[in-house]
């Protein structure tokens, strides 16, 4: 880092400079004067990446074969196109996105709470968190969904004291899906948050305590924001996973994307076409989430490195130019 703008008084430094100044300054002056001519650029033939061209050709051929196979397959493509924006499918896609967002929200909030509890010095807190994670991470999410959905079989009446109703009316497919997916996710998020919290240097907590901050305030203002950098990337993956896992809610009649697609195909019997419609929608949604994840990660990088990572567009354009670099730098056409 350069320090010329640094106007702080620094008495000892000049003192040592003047002592050894005679010889040092004398040697430095000529060097500074003798560099007006810019250095000549290195002329060399760059390494040829023949492997890249060969592998690209192989990949293109294989891709062409797959496309040809699907074009020739017994699929009515117009049907796929027609159902892509069918009302039922659109509602299914919205429901999928909705349950994903809500379940993840529940997972993140509850998971962070569990992580803090797990790291707490209070033995009651940490063992409750441990037990929760043990149960919910140790059982398949499909089983959990089915248990929530069928809760009325063992508790026909929901009685919370202030609220009383038939369990069957309360436990809709939506609520069962939300509880099943969200509570399960919390167990995973708890472990992710715990890793993030533990990654923050202990000196940060000490500095905050030395300034008079309490434990909870230190956690909120100092530790969690820094843990975010470690927590966000795996959370993005969890989000994308959740989008796909939410298709399990199909088993409990929640009308998400897959359920909507199969409901149509059970009527018109165009099974593969509608599965492809669902596939395309899942891909669209996961792509949107990936882009969101990238910008979120970029935001939480601030302060941790001196420059921000490139955006996808910058990266794509760079990878394209690096593919072409050999021919350009060498000044010859390939």
């Amino acid at each position: 880092m350069s320090e010329p703008e640094d106007k702080a008084p620094s008495a000892p430094v000049p003192a040592s400079n003047t002592e050894g100044g005679g010889a040092g300054a004398g040697g430095a002056v000529p060097v500074a004067k003798s560099s007006p001519v810019p250095p000549e650029a290195v002329k060399a033939i760059p390494v040829r990446h023949y492997g890249r061209w060969i592998s690209a050709a192989i990949v293109l051929v294989l891709f062409g074969l797959v496309v040809a196979a699907f074009v020739g397959a017994d699929i009515t493509w117009p049907t796929v196109g027609r159902y892509l924006n069918h009302e039922t499918i659109l509602t299914g896609a919205v429901n999928t996105l909705w349950i994903t967002l809500l379940a993840m929200l529940m997972g993140v909030v509850l998971g962070t709470l569990l992580a803090v509890m797990r790291l707490s010095k209070n033995p009651v807190m940490s063992s409750v968190a441990w037990g929760y994670i043990w149960v919910f991470r140790g059982t398949p999410v499909l089983v959990q969904l089915l248990i929530w959905y069928n809760l009325a079989l063992i508790f026909p009446i929901l009685d919370l004291g202030f609220y009383r109703d038939e369990m069957n009316d309360v436990m809709t497919p939506f609520l069962a899906a939300l509880l099943g997916l969200g509570l399960n996710e919390a167990a995973y998020m708890a472990e992710i948050s715990r890793a993030g919290i533990q990654s923050v240097d202990e000196g940060q907590t000490e500095a905050a305590h030395a300034l008079g901050m309490t434990g909870s305030r230190t956690m909120r203002r100092i530790v969690l924001p820094q843990a975010m950098r470690v927590i966000i990337p795996p959370t993005g993956n969890e989000f994308i996973n959740m989008l796909k896992t939410s298709s399990l809610a199909y088993a409990i009649q929640y009308s998400e994307l897959l359920f909507s697609a199969t409901r149509i195909s059970s009527r018109n019997l165009e099974v593969m076409e509608l599965l492809l419609v669902a596939t395309i929608w899942y891909l669209i949604l996961t792509t949107i989430l990936s882009v969101g994840q990238f910008y979120l990660e970029r935001y939480f990088q601030r302060g941790s490195s001196r420059s921000l990572p490139p955006t996808p567009w910058q990266r794509i354009s760079k990878s394209l130019t690096s593919f072409r670099t050999p021919s350009r730098v060498g000044g010859k056409t390939v």
Binding site: A8, A11, G203, A208, H209, A210, G212, T214, P225, G303
Partner: protein, 257 residues
């Protein structure tokens, strides 16, 4: 009504053990208000541990330690000691600033945000007032033009000066320095010592763990040489550093001077 001046820091038979490791073996010392008090000694002698006991980052195992007449971390009722609650410990620490060897700035905040954080969060100061004061403090440590930089964009010396400004923002009555220049490149040490010298001239009570004997001699009012968890020798820095009485002090000083 004038009472005899209460020492800013008073330690009586302070012991500290980590498991089986006995780090402090009975420290007795007093730091007067307005004094620059230097702690020197070989690494592992317990000087940093003692410093961390002063603001209760470490709990003492035996003895009594008080700051400005108040026991650190405990309350006395009759002849019984009660441990303070977390909130009360935090309140005690507000008046004690600390500067760390490794700066420990908050990396997700700019320089000015680092300085504002505690006044806003702990004292409940308004953001505009805290920012105004933070800018003045950064100006005072010579960083008026670096206020919006993140710590990763600052040199070690600049980071340490921000850390000093951050501690000063709580308007402490006592400042603790834990080897503030040990992690710095040699040419950056001067700028940090200059800021500390300025603080001393303004009458701040400072306890400084340091290896900078020049600073101790020039700025210090008292000096304590510690080795193996005990105070070996103490006195005015000029006397101890130029005319040490104990063999261990002599041996140590011959290596560092």
């Amino acid at each position: 009504m004038t009472t005899p001046a209460v020492p800013m820091v008073k330690a009586e038979g302070v012991h500290k053990s980590f498991g089986h490791a006995h780090i402090l073996k009975g420290i007795d010392l007093e730091v007067a208000a307005g004094e620059v008090f230097c702690l020197v000694g070989p690494s592992g002698s317990g000087k940093s541990t003692f410093l961390r006991c002063i603001n209760h980052l470490e709990k003492i195992s035996a003895g009594r330690l008080s700051v400005d007449g108040h026991l650190v971390g405990y309350r006395q009722k009759g002849d019984k000691l009660y441990e303070l609650k977390e909130r009360e410990v935090a309140a005690q620490r507000r008046d004690i600033g600390m500067v760390f060897q490794r700066f420990n700035l908050f990396p997700h905040m700019t320089a000015v945000e680092n300085v504002m954080e505690a006044p806003v969060q702990v004292k409940g100061e308004s953001k505009t007032a805290a920012r105004e004061r933070a800018l003045k403090l950064l100006e005072r440590v010579g960083l008026g033009n670096r206020t919006d930089n993140y710590p990763s964009q600052l040199s070690g010396g600049q980071q340490q000066r921000v850390a000093i400004a951050r501690a000063l923002a709580m308007e402490p009555k006592l400042m603790l320095f834990d080897e503030p220049t040990s992690a710095l490149d040699p040419e950056l040490v001067g700028e940090v010592l200059d800021v500390m010298r300025g603080l001393a001239e303004d009458g701040m009570t400072m306890v400084v763990v340091t290896h900078e004997m020049g600073f101790a001699r020039e700025v210090g009012d008292s000096l304590v040489f510690m080795d193996d968890g005990v105070v070996v020798e103490s006195g005015h820095p000029r006397d101890v550093l130029t005319d040490p009485q104990h063999e261990r002090t002599k041996a140590f000083l011959s290596k560092v001077l």
